[in-house]
């Protein structure tokens, strides 16, 4: 495994040969070292690992040996060279020689140049080469970065060339040779030449990749922590969109790469940790009628363990992962043990969460109806969430739902007082140890969170251990086990759940003091106190105290890899890994809980096990100027998911939260099984170091598809051309690459059992009066001839670097067409079923991605870096199946009168529903009461997909201090805000203020005139204009309450908002203690950071809610309903390394 580590640091060239002796016979004269290496290789089979740069300052050698041991030959070769070597199995790794004086070919002490070489952060660089131009004189820097170079000459023009692997080269004329000469070397943009991890864990030079590749370092995710590290990717990778539900603790995260490619079903990428796919399905999500976000499998990803996250967006990148990679792959590589002694990392992070108070409701009119105060307590109960009373008046007393009379004034402390300050504490320790042969790493992270919603919080422990060992020359082993234990208390209910506190709070009239609601149960009977006559809007204090829910999760994830080198050019690897999770959820509803008066206990037990076993052959050989690499592999994936849902109804003893305490217990079991067998192969060809071609092919056999259709093959081809290698070195273009790819990927049916009709008894009602209830057990029409869906993806792009990597540009254009999609398509209920399994359609995604890296200021003390990414995805539903309607409903909400649909010829995810009824000139057609009407034909009201997304990360560093902030943009999508709709309907929205006083005066006039509503023309109120049924112009006044209740009840068009936003996603200020300060302590590194997560929303267009609010992670985004406010976090992070 050491080899890999070296590869990571250097752009490696490998010389292969096929002689297999330990002794060497050689005769060369003035031959370059490289030639000798080739000969040695040929005779011994040992490979040399080095960079070309390293050989730059070597001299040619002459050797005449016969049957001499390898070591002896090498000794001769390296004599007098600035190099040394280490033999590691069959590799000879060439390194710069650490000390300097012995290496001078000419030594004269009359003049000595000296100085310090550092990186751009001022940290000393050891092993940098300082060479006097035009001579063979050079020195290599010491551990503290210093060098001394005796040059022996004065008077002539002295030019020093300083270089180091991985860093740039600097040239400087030395004017006053006696002064200290300090050089600051720039780190070469790693992205361009680095070695990266690609599909199947194969490391590749980034330059050879024919597709866009993005990488995020683990350290970028650990300082400003999200409870789910995947959320930290938002704004960092072009074309990667993160959506979270606003559930708060332990919620799931939806990631979309390059747009939604499948109409229904799962659009999320596959997560692979160290080669082993994890199950990222969610145990449960809120739907139209409410529920909880029960999280997903990605919580096993511990940011403290992550070395890198590779984002494989396109088809070619992911083709080798097969069926499940159609939506891309998020490849996580975790850290390994140390090769040199023990290293301890410790991170401590304390963050405080506050709600981002975006409530902007009216505070002038309180509980009441039709401008009247409640007449008695009974009416006060009905009016607690109706802010249609008269204007506040400190002299008035009003009935309150709790039976008292209180001054009719603004309570001033309403909604936001419900929330508390949340705390998140994260402590993590990583211990790495080992030597050249064996390495071990242990990581433990503890997370403790109290959410802003009282009673709600999360506790999580992540532990992992990884060991790697080179057992013999040919045999190595790598094994890891990671464990997660998580407990989440009181996940907030979402959507239309009666105990969704976000929804209930946003309707409370402004004169209702939240403290009054704290008395939520009868002190004697313990029964719920009715406060609003609405069992679908439970008192939030009852919700958090008497309806507790808890979930626990244990997840175990591990693998073992054995590698055997059959030949120097051929190795075989066997890997087996399992992801296992056990999830338990329980939700208790005490006796007298509204909607479940007799109490209820809901239990869910879910265990998921997925095992992947793989055999992989790796071949690699250099033939003249060609490099030939090949892999062939086979994998078996076995999946089993068991879910047991149990419901207890009718509680016996109030307050006792056990299933044994319920009189009716119903259980429902689901067992899902699935297997995919695969074979695959890849061929990687490279010509010199600038032209690359990759070919891959894979065949899958899936158990979820119909016999005869369950075998499917798909290929990919990609190519990369580094054209900058062919043009002369110049100051403008430092690097240039063109790339292109085509890939086909196939997908099976995600769910099993979709081929045949099944029958069963009713899972909720076994019998009634002794009669059994049963029938067809499924709501989807199965499809006996189900075949795989196929995606074709094209991608072209370029990477360009200018002005010594001061400007880096990555451009990508892509197009993906997904055909024969396996859809669980919504069909007319009149068919007897709600959905049908079909192969359907053609959905197209095309777009561009731009990543731009800028370094406007580079100096020895102050640096400024900007990283910008931009992505624009356009999708279009080209065709749906003729068997189903041309509309595909993605989400529909009974309370919304609107749907999110995919429609032929349109973009994915348009919002459709009732619009205002208008004439051809656009005038509102008003009814006999001058109120607006809806158009019974649904219209397109908006689009839930964003036009473009982007992020800007700015980083400023001055000496040991760095400051960075990340901006996240999304532009052009729409959201249907039910929170605002309800606020209009119940008089809480500021927009309802218009016309209220006017209507009151008009009504006074009417009463004075003794007229009835029907024969009175309002003199003031909410002005409205339009035309009547006969087309005549109407300008009139209406009652704002009637108007808004009419619009809220029927016309969603009024509540479609622009969901665009600009957010400051994170800010951090880091201070690293200077090396000099910690020199005499055991500390190797110490960084203190001040961090802020989601501190500001710089721009948004929807009032009262965060435009990112969504209640589940389904594909039907665009509905918002009773959202909790966004949390903003501030805190401190301490990082120590020993």
């Amino acid at each position: 495994m050491k080899i890999t580590a070296v590869l990571l640091l250097t752009a490696c060239l490998q010389v292969s040969a096929s002689g297999y002796s330990q002794n060497i016979t050689l005769s060369v004269k003035d031959a370059p070292l490289e030639k000798v290496f080739g000969e040695v290789k040929k005779q011994t089979g040992y490979s040399f690992v080095y960079t070309r740069e390293l050989l730059q300052y070597t001299t040619s050698v002459s050797l005449e040996v016969k049957n001499v041991p390898l070591e002896k030959v090498l000794e001769n070769c390296f004599k007098g060279q600035p190099l040394t070597y280490v033999i590691e199995k069959k590799f000879i790794i060439i390194k710069p020689r650490p000390s300097l004086t012995t290496m001078l070919t000419v030594a004269d002490s009359t003049l000595e140049l000296h100085g310090l070489i550092t990186d751009n952060n001022g940290l000393p660089l050891q092993g940098a080469t300082v060479r006097l131009k035009g001579t063979d004189l050079f020195a290599i820097t010491e551990k503290n970065g210093s060098f001394r170079l005796p040059v022996g000459r004065n008077g002539a023009v002295l030019t020093l060339v300083v270089s180091m692997i991985g860093y740039g080269t600097m040239e400087r004329e030395v004017k006053t040779p006696s002064a200290a000469l300090n050089f600051k070397l720039q780190l070469v943009q790693r992205q361009l030449d680095s070695v990266v991890v690609t599909a199947l864990g194969i490391t590749r030079q980034q330059r050879s990749l024919g597709y866009a590749y993005s990488e995020v370092k683990g350290e970028d995710l650990t300082k400003v922590r999200e409870n789910n590290p995947v959320e930290g990717l938002s704004g960092r990778v072009a074309g990667l969109e993160v959506n979270t539900t606003n559930s708060g603790v332990g919620g799931s995260t939806k990631v979309t790469l390059r747009g939604v490619k499948t109409i229904g079903g799962d659009s999320q990428p596959l997560y692979v940790i160290d080669g082993i796919p994890i199950d990222n399905t969610t145990p449960g999500q809120a739907d139209t009628y409410g529920g909880y976000d029960l999280g997903d499998g990605s919580s096993i990803i511990n940011p403290d363990e992550i070395e890198t996250i590779s984002v494989l967006k396109g088809g070619a990148a992911a083709a080798l992962y097969g069926s499940r990679a159609a939506n891309g792959v998020i490849l996580i590589t975790t850290k390994k043990g140390s090769k040199k002694g023990t290293v301890v990392d410790y991170t401590s992070n304390a963050v405080f969460d506050r709600i981002q108070n975006s409530y902007d409701y009216q505070e002038q009119y309180g509980a009441g109806n039709s401008n009247l105060l409640p007449m008695d307590v009974a009416t006060a109960i009905g009016d607690a969430q109706s802010s249609w009373g008269p204007k506040f008046n400190a002299d008035s007393m009003s009935y309150i739902f709790n039976g008292t009379k209180e001054p009719y004034v603004n309570a001033h402390n309403s909604i936001s007082h419900f929330f508390r300050t949340g705390v998140t504490l994260t402590n993590s320790i990583g211990v790495s140890t080992g030597d050249e042969k064996n390495q071990l790493r242990f990581t433990y992270t503890n997370l403790y969170n109290n959410d802003v919603v009282p009673m709600s919080g999360l506790k999580r422990n992540n532990a992992s251990i990884r060991g790697t060992s080179q057992l013999s020359n040919k045999f190595s082993i790598d094994a890891k086990i990671a464990y997660l234990n998580e407990k989440v208390d009181n996940r907030p209910a979402l959507s239309d759940n009666p105990n969704n506190v976000g929804y209930v709070l946003s309707g409370v009239a402004p004169n209702i003091d939240m403290n009054w609601l704290k008395k939520y149960k009868d002190p004697v009977t313990g029964d719920y106190i009715n406060w609003n006559n609405n069992e679908y809007q439970v008192n939030p204090y009852w919700a958090i105290n008497e309806q507790p829910n808890t979930s626990t999760k244990d997840q175990l994830n591990g693998f073992i890899t054995l590698k055997y080198k059959i030949l120097p050019t051929l190795s075989i690897q066997a890997r087996s890994g399992t992801d296992y999770s056990g999830f338990h959820f329980r939700e208790f509803m005490n006796y007298s809980t509204p909607f479940n008066q007799t109490g209820q206990l809901t239990l869910m037990d879910r265990t998921i096990r997925e095992t992947n076993t793989e055999l992989l052959l790796n071949f690699g050989k250099q033939v003249h100027k060609f490099w030939i690499g090949a892999n062939a592999g086979a994998n078996r994936m076995d999946y089993r998911g068991n879910i047991m849902n149990t419901t207890g109804r009718d509680i016996s003893i109030p307050g006792v939260e056990s299933i044994s305490n319920f009189q009716t217990v119903l259980s429902n079991e689901a067992i899902n099984r699935k297997r995919i067998n695969s074979v695959y192969g890849a061929l990687n060809l490279a010509y010199q170091n600038y032209l690359y071609l990759d070919l891959t092919a894979r065949n899958d056999w899936s158990s979820t598809l119909a016999q005869g259709n369950n075998s499917f093959f798909y290929p990919s081809v990609s190519s990369s051309f580094i054209f900058s290698e062919l043009i002369p070195k110049n100051k403008i273009l430092s690097y240039g690459k063109l790339r292109g790819s085509f890939a086909q990927t196939g997908t099976d049916a995600i769910s099993p059992y979709e081929l045949k009709l099944t029958y069963g008894s009713d899972i909720n009602i076994p019998t009634i009066g002794g009669y059994a209830i049963g029938g067809v057990a499924v709501t989807e029409v199965p499809y006996l001839k189900l075949k795989p869906s196929i995606s074709n993806a094209y991608e072209f792009g370029t990477n360009l670097a200018f002005f010594d990597n001061r400007i880096n540009l990555d451009l990508t254009w892509y197009k993906t067409n997904t055909k024969n999609q396996i859809l669980d398509a919504p069909i007319s209920t009149t068919s007897g079923y709600t959905t049908a399994i079909i192969n359907s359609g053609n959905i197209e995604n095309k777009g561009i991605e731009i990543t731009l890296g800028l370094k406007p200021i580079v100096s020895s003390t102050f640096n400024w870096e900007i990283n910008l990414n931009f992505a624009r995805n356009r999708n279009k539903i080209i065709k749906l199946s003729p068997l189903v309607s041309s509309y595909y409903t993605l989400a529909s909400a009974r309370w919304a009168n609107a749907s999110i649909v995919a429609k032929e010829g349109e973009r994915y995810g348009i919002i459709v529903g009732h619009d205002f009824l208008k004439d051809s000139a656009g005038n509102l057609i008003l009814d006999a009461n001058n109120l607006p009407q809806y158009d019974p034909t649904d219209k397109k009201l908006g689009n839930s997909q964003y036009d473009w997304t982007g992020g800007i990360n700015n980083r400023f560093s001055y000496k040991n201090i760095s400051f960075s902030f990340l901006l996240d943009f999304k532009q052009g999508g729409n959201i249907y805000s039910m929170t605002n709709l309800l606020a209009y309907s119940n008089g809480r929205q500021k927009g309802t203020l218009k016309g209220r006083e006017g209507w009151v005066s008009s009504e006074k006039q009417r009463v004075a005139a003794g007229a009835t509503a029907a024969n009175w023309v309002a003199t003031d109120g909410l002005p409205i204009s339009g035309v009547n049924a006969n087309g005549g112009k109407v300008n009139a006044y209406v009652n704002p309450q009637t108007y808004w209740q009419r619009v809220a009840g029927n016309i969603p068009a009024a509540f479609i908002y622009d969901a665009s936003y600009i957010k400051v996603r994170q800010i951090n200020l880091d201070y690293s203690l200077p090396a000099s300060t910690i020199k005499n302590t055991p500390l190797k590194e110490c960084t203190i950071s001040l961090v802020a997560r989601n501190p500001f929303i710089l721009s948004k267009h929807v009032p009262n809610i965060d435009p990112e609010s969504s209640y589940n992670n389904s594909n039907g985004q665009g509905f918002e309903y009773g959202s909790l406010p966004t949390r903003r976090s501030y805190g401190i992070n301490l990082y120590l390394k020993f």
Binding site: S370, D376, I566, A632, S761, G769, A777, A836
Partner: protein
């Protein structure tokens, strides 16, 4: 070594491919759901279909919040604005989705799967009758609906069913009912697990004929010839003969709002809706004017403690279209008792809130009243007797509600004596009595109103000017919005018969 390489590589590759591809053999069993079966007993499926008719509150909302306020039985709660002020809501949609998605689905599957098995003809015949009943509720509410292609998602891959004209649906109804009655065969397997008639095929036949009479009578406005012919055939076939033949669903006193408890009772209990479900002036005044002994069975006035204060209020009714809080003010009784607004109106009798109460889909009382009308129209004889039988049976059938105040034999006799069928007012009296007898079945009361114009409904009072029809009673319901998406082509074709857009003021075919 090169030899090794050449030999090993193809072998390993071959082994990989063989390993991967050979194991598709057990895919079939792997892809079979171990928790489900590949078939089910037809009786379970028949009961499964029947059970969704009135269990659970969602499917009842259409009747509760829309249809019964339409015919002015009750009004008052916020939700009833849908039916008392004519405001479009999604309440009725559950009828569509549940009837098609549960009941029709199971019945079509039962018939398709077992039609070739001659031993199961009794199940098939019962399923056909139930299917006609359910479709009749749907077509009477909506007009043209998917019928001939409905429920065939699996058997014929029809995912978007065509809408059939109501006229063609009615034609098929009569032929189906006729065919089903003829199909029953006592020598074949009895219907097991039959929640409707416990396997009694004679009762199924009587239901089929009674239903045929109801549907025949539906056509009196549009096609008197067919009406007469079908009514005569129905009568000849044999109708319900007593309350024992009633088509009703039994329920259990099960608090959780699932199918076990009567959905109507569940809707009343929800958020204390019953407290505000007040009898309208149209209904209560009719009962009062006729000194109907059923008034205290239907309604009651209670104070905040549940004490009966009817003697003080004498059943204060709510005007159609009003919310319970409209027309604000306490009621001061003759003895000076102040009855607060919240307790002012006569609300529904608590017997209707019993979760274990049955829901009557079609009963002997209605059949006798249908016969009375048939006799008046000359298709039978002795209208007056049938009328009296019907009223008498209607009074008797109230005993099916648990805890219902019993009506004494003398009160019943007095009422019957005072209410003979009056010459010249036959249609009005028969159908007003049917309206009273059907309470709280809004489906049939609304259909019967549209056909006969009885009872004469009061104009609604729309205090907040909220009515979306300006106070005009709708003649049908809007199709569920989901059809515009999930069945776009057929839905749009169906709208052509309504003038291009969905419109609830347009009458259905038999209401023209």
């Amino acid at each position: 070594m090169i030899q090794v390489q050449k030999r090993v590589l193809p072998i390993v590759l071959l082994v990989m491919i063989v390993l991967a591809s050979s194991c598709t053999k057990n895919f079939d069993s792997l892809n079979t759901d171990p928790t489900k079966g590949s078939s089910i007993a037809p009786g379970q499926q028949l009961t499964g279909a029947a059970y969704y008719l009135d269990g659970g509150r969602a499917v009842v909302y259409a009747n509760f919040y829309v249809l019964q306020p339409f015919v002015q039985y009750m009004s008052g709660p916020w939700g009833m604005r849908a039916g008392s002020k004519y405001i479009r809501t999604t309440y009725p949609d559950a009828v569509w989705t549940t009837f098609y998605g549960q009941s029709i689905k199971q019945l079509v599957d039962l018939i398709q799967r077992n039609k070739a098995d001659s031993s199961l003809v009794n199940y098939i015949a019962a399923a056909r009758i139930l299917k006609v009943y359910i479709f009749s509720l749907l077509t009477d509410l909506y007009g043209d609906i998917p019928y001939s292609q409905a429920g065939l998602g699996y058997y014929e891959s029809i995912y978007t069913a065509r809408y059939d004209s109501q006229q063609s649906i009615y034609t098929d109804f009569f032929s189906e009912l006729d065919g089903a009655v003829k199909q029953f065969d006592a020598t074949k397997d009895a219907i097991d697990n039959d929640i409707v008639y416990n396997g009694n095929i004679d009762r199924w036949k009587k239901l089929a004929n009674s239903l045929r009479l109801r549907l025949a009578m539906r056509l009196t406005k549009v096609d008197l010839t067919t009406a007469a012919m079908q009514a005569r055939a129905a009568i000849a076939g044999g109708l319900m003969e007593s309350a024992d033949d009633n088509f009703k669903m039994i329920h259990e006193a099960y608090a959780y709002p699932d199918l076990r408890g009567n959905g109507y009772a569940q809707a009343l209990q929800e958020s204390d809706t019953y407290l505000y479900s007040a009898g309208t002036t149209t209904f209560i005044n009719y009962l009062k004017q006729n000194s109907d002994p059923r008034l205290p069975c239907y309604f009651v006035n209670q104070d905040a403690n549940g004490k009966d204060i009817t003697s003080l209020t004498n059943y204060i009714a709510i005007s159609p279209g009003l919310y319970w809080w409209d027309n604000w003010g306490d009621f001061i009784a003759a003895d000076g008792t102040d009855i607060p607004q919240a307790n002012k109106f006569a609300t529904i009798n608590r017997s209707f809130m019993a979760l274990q109460s049955s829901f009557l889909h079609m009963g002997y009382a209605e059949v006798q009243l249908l016969l009375a009308e048939a006799a008046y129209r000359g298709w039978a004889s002795n209208a007056g007797q049938y009328y009296q039988n019907g009223v008498s049976a209607a009074i008797d059938q109230l005993s099916m509600y648990p805890g219902m105040v019993a009506i004494s034999a003398s009160d019943k006799a007095n009422y019957l004596a005072a209410h003979p069928l009056d010459a010249g007012k036959e249609i009005q009296e028969i159908n007003e009595q049917k309206w009273v007898a059907l309470f709280p079945n809004g489906y049939e009361a609304y259909a019967n109103y549209r056909r006969t114009g009885y009872p004469v409904l009061g104009a609604i009072t729309d205090v907040g000017l909220e009515s979306e029809t300006n106070g005009v009673l709708p003649r049908r319901l809007f199709y569920p919005a989901s059809e515009a998406y999930d069945n776009a082509t057929n839905y749009n074709a169906a709208l052509q018969n309504l003038g291009g857009t969905d419109n609830w003021l347009k009458p259905v075919w038999w209401d023209k």
